[in-house]
Symmetry: D2
Subunit: 326 residues, 4 copies
């Protein structure tokens, strides 16, 4: 009963925009990854600062000091708008790219870049040179509703409504008065139209691909928690489902990072894990059959850094779940 220490070649990867919440989560996951090493982590304003994760310390490099070619794959966690240009430079340097911004996502940018909702796009993502990593709200929502749309269960012409609530890290780490602890604690509210539109575009483009004719009504709320998204979704069905979980279970059978449970999910069930947790029940007391679907994710893991790594694993030919907390 001996323990073997194997020499394993580690693949160098880099992170651009590493100082925000998603960037730090990425760095931590990479540092704990059995097959990846961190070639660089850049941050503009935080250049020179140290960051501790997974028992290691890294120093944020200035973006201009980064050798893109030193990495086989580069994650960009740069802000929307600033990211696409760096992805292009990354490609020129010969490295693969996973873009966590909205710049290249379906409905927002170049239509030929795979949209890395991994469980849906596994074939396109495997070995890909560039991947657009989905937004956090779309990840939770699409994993919940695509099975119903693909199975033709949804009333044509109807509206699917998504009431979703996110922890504050979904808004990033930039200092904003409305995100101060003193403003967020003991508070709750609906917010924003800017984000709503960006996320809606992704969701609507992916829904359109199924050929289903439905509208999406999306209302995001800001929760006084650090992490997590819960989406409560109402789907008008053509007929009641005897087993409301069946379509979800059938579609996601064998998926390690999608869980379907009878109990509605709580944020606690998913934080720090690379999973979408789903539940569903037929709404009671209403005459038109309506499925109530719940989807919970950690916005920084399956909603950002975790799924980015899941995609990177496939792009690099590694095991899909390598280095991912399930």
């Amino acid at each position: 009963m001996q323990e073997y220490s194997l020499y394993v070649h580690k693949i160098p990867v880099g992170v651009l925009g590493a100082s925000g919440y998603a960037g730090r989560e990425l760095c931590a996951l990479i540092l704990g990854h059995p097959r990846l090493s961190l070639a660089f982590a850049s941050a503009n304003a935080q250049r020179g600062e140290h960051f501790h994760a997974a028992g290691s310390s890294i120093t944020f490099a200035a973006p201009e000091d980064v050798a893109l070619a030193s990495a086989e794959l580069v994650f960009s966690a740069l802000p929307h708008g600033a990211s696409a240009d760096w992805v292009a430079r990354t490609r020129e340097a010969g490295a693969r790219a996973v873009d966590l911004s909205a710049d290249l996502r379906i409905g927002n940018g170049a239509s030929d870049v795979p949209y890395g909702l991994t469980e849906v796009a596994r074939a396109e993502v495997t070995g890909a040179q560039v991947i657009a990593n989905p937004g956090c709200y779309p990840t939770a929502t699409l994993i919940a509703i695509l099975p119903l749309l693909e199975a033709g269960l949804v009333v044509a012409g109807s509206t699917i409504s998504i009431s979703a609530a996110s922890g504050v890290t979904g808004a990033g780490m930039a200092p904003r008065t409305d995100l101060l602890f003193g403003e967020v604690t003991e508070n709750f509210k609906a917010y924003g139209v800017a984000n709503e539109h960006r996320h809606l575009r992704e969701m609507r483009a992916m829904v359109a691909r199924t050929g289903a004719d439905v509208d999406l009504l999306f209302t995001p709320h800001l929760l006084p928690v650090a992490r997590g998204i819960l989406a409560t979704i109402l789907v008008p069905l053509s007929a009641p489902l005897a087993d409301p979980l069946a379509p979800l279970r059938a579609r996601w059978k064998g998926e390690r990072f999608i869980e379907v449970s009878a109990e509605p999910p709580a944020l606690r069930d998913v934080v720090h894990r690379n999973v979408v947790r789903l539940s569903a029940r037929m709404a009671a007391h209403v005459r038109t059959p309506t499925l109530q679907v719940f989807a919970a994710i950690d916005n920084l893991v399956k909603g950002a850094a975790g799924q980015a790594l899941q995609n990177a694993n496939l792009a690099l030919g590694l095991a899909e779940d390598a280095g991912l907390p399930a």
Copy 2:
């Protein structure tokens, strides 16, 4: 510029079940009320304990030591099921009663007891002997949707969906593992069917009164905050509204405790205040006209103790807003 001290006769009122969150809020409001005095505050398990509020200290009496007849009006904040009997005893003792439990509410109990959604039932409540105080979710929801239903704006046969989130004091003060700080902090989830039914009954009965033919789909969630409810409501409309706030403003014109604003309300706008704050907007990107209505209240004030006092003021012939924080 002198300050006058006027001798004002204070009306003695009592509180049954005073040790819970709603009961304590009631005691505090009564102690700060210009025209009421606290004749007694009973609590079974907490008998003998002291409670400080509004600069005074009160001692919880044992229920069996309380002289109901010493009060002109008695508030019952006893648990559902246990309250109706005490309301009957109160009536026998010759005092008026405001029942904060569900026991006598429309859809749940005696149909002849006024349902004290004050702004809707002002005439019935004024001078009443017994009043059933509405639940917290129904208060927020009904103030938001009744104007639309009464004005005939809602599609017949449609479903109004209510996605609501409440702070933990809405679940009361009984020690429950699932309400421990360690379980609630950094968490969020949909919950319960028991409460859902009780609150749905009130809402559906009040909706039925308007003659409108609509279903209600209600999904409550538990928020990691102490106080406050936010309801995000989707209402299918027969036609788009040019001014989405107009029906709300028209119906609640002149109401001191109902606020209509262009900005979606936050819990911060309403906590510790006896108000419902509303906003509304036409949902974008959907082909069937849908009004998105937001309603926020403090579940312990306008959702419980505050509205109970508002009703008591009217029952006793006092100014409706006496002693109420707006």
Copy 3:
């Protein structure tokens, strides 16, 4: 039993730096004050924005548009360093000034300006033209230890240690990454030396006035709450006290805004109230007699805006407790 409406002349007062936490609290208190009216509320970056409080709406004026002479008294909630100059202008305009910054406080600035720890400086403050309002930590600490020092109970040459924890509003409303909800929630740490020095100077200067020869060791911590300070203080005594509360009770007898209780105070006991709540007990298991004193305040009320109003009331010849929540 009629209610009389009396015409009362209201004294116009202004607020500089009104958009921060202390400034907003001041505006809210003034709007609810029976004898004061709000002549102006200035804010530089937030000029033109609206602020709702106490049922009223106010608009933040640009500092240069403010007519200082339109007020009989001006509160400055401007940042340390920027405040003294505006106080001087206020004086030139003929108005009284209460400065909430550290600029004029004992140990920091002009030694001839009364240091408005109201219960200690009531005589100096009454009718004063300028008052330096104490810091939040010093208010809690000094009310706790001055009685012991004045009574000669403390060991000469000893060190009084103050381990204090404050809610985040004590750090103001400026957008800082380290004060984001995502950074503060579920966290706790000791912090800062800059504030420590400023607050220590006030405390040491006031301690020196008693003639006592003691050192102060002050360690502030940042709490994941919006409001409130709790100071846990260890005082080496010359001899054990049979009744540890006696010196506190004797010194603060009759003070409406100082409470002495057997039970250690919690933040909950003091938030939104203009009080210092104290408790004390002899430390067990130690051979050198040590008094453990607890002091709790709301940093924005008794620790800032509330005490400023208490001082303003005295400066203007009004009842000391006018408009103050006890």
Copy 4:
């Protein structure tokens, strides 16, 4: 670059009292441990309930259904008072025991059982049959002060004061009104004398072993966070230290689970990790040399389940850090 799957024999261990916070943390650590398997997890009131952790699901067994002999080592996370008896039964069944309760700790129980402050008691713990796992406050405190006491740096006859704050999981999972979210959020207070004594006994007994003649003054506070303890400790020194970190660094050199840093630690630095993080600085502005030491731990990991596993690893002859998050 292949991945090898090695067959590793797993050692069966059991958990008594598995449904509380420490018990669940233990189960999760065991399920993720490379060399241990979970033979059973008992819980009295929760018998039959399922618990998910580390990708597995376990069912809480009734205590009477547990075969103690099926495990090579049994962790007892039973309440103080109830634990010692089960430890005895475990020994009779031939299994080793790690007791997380206070029953067998130094100063509380049998003096011949090793007190598993691992870094101090490594030799005694290695291969031990029974280990008393330290309390959470004592772990943080002793790792901070033992180096100073052992080095003879502390003034004889003086008092070391420990002002410590703990998250609510330190109080366990039993439903208590004072631990409800509604009571703890936005609150902070000193508490308890019962716990204080139990923890003080351990600390004093361990201090006595060093031969140092000092008193301990311990004040615990309840923090509105789920996890984590921060202790702020004042130590009277015989002479100032030029390098305040030197004694800590010297004593804990090479220890994987003890970190010494220049920056005062925050709870964020240690949660979900099996570490004590220390910092120290000479107190300023005081004439008697005083070292201010900060110690932070996760009360459920290094303060309970993590250290228990660290001890179990040594008892079983495994690598000390096996299965532990550093």
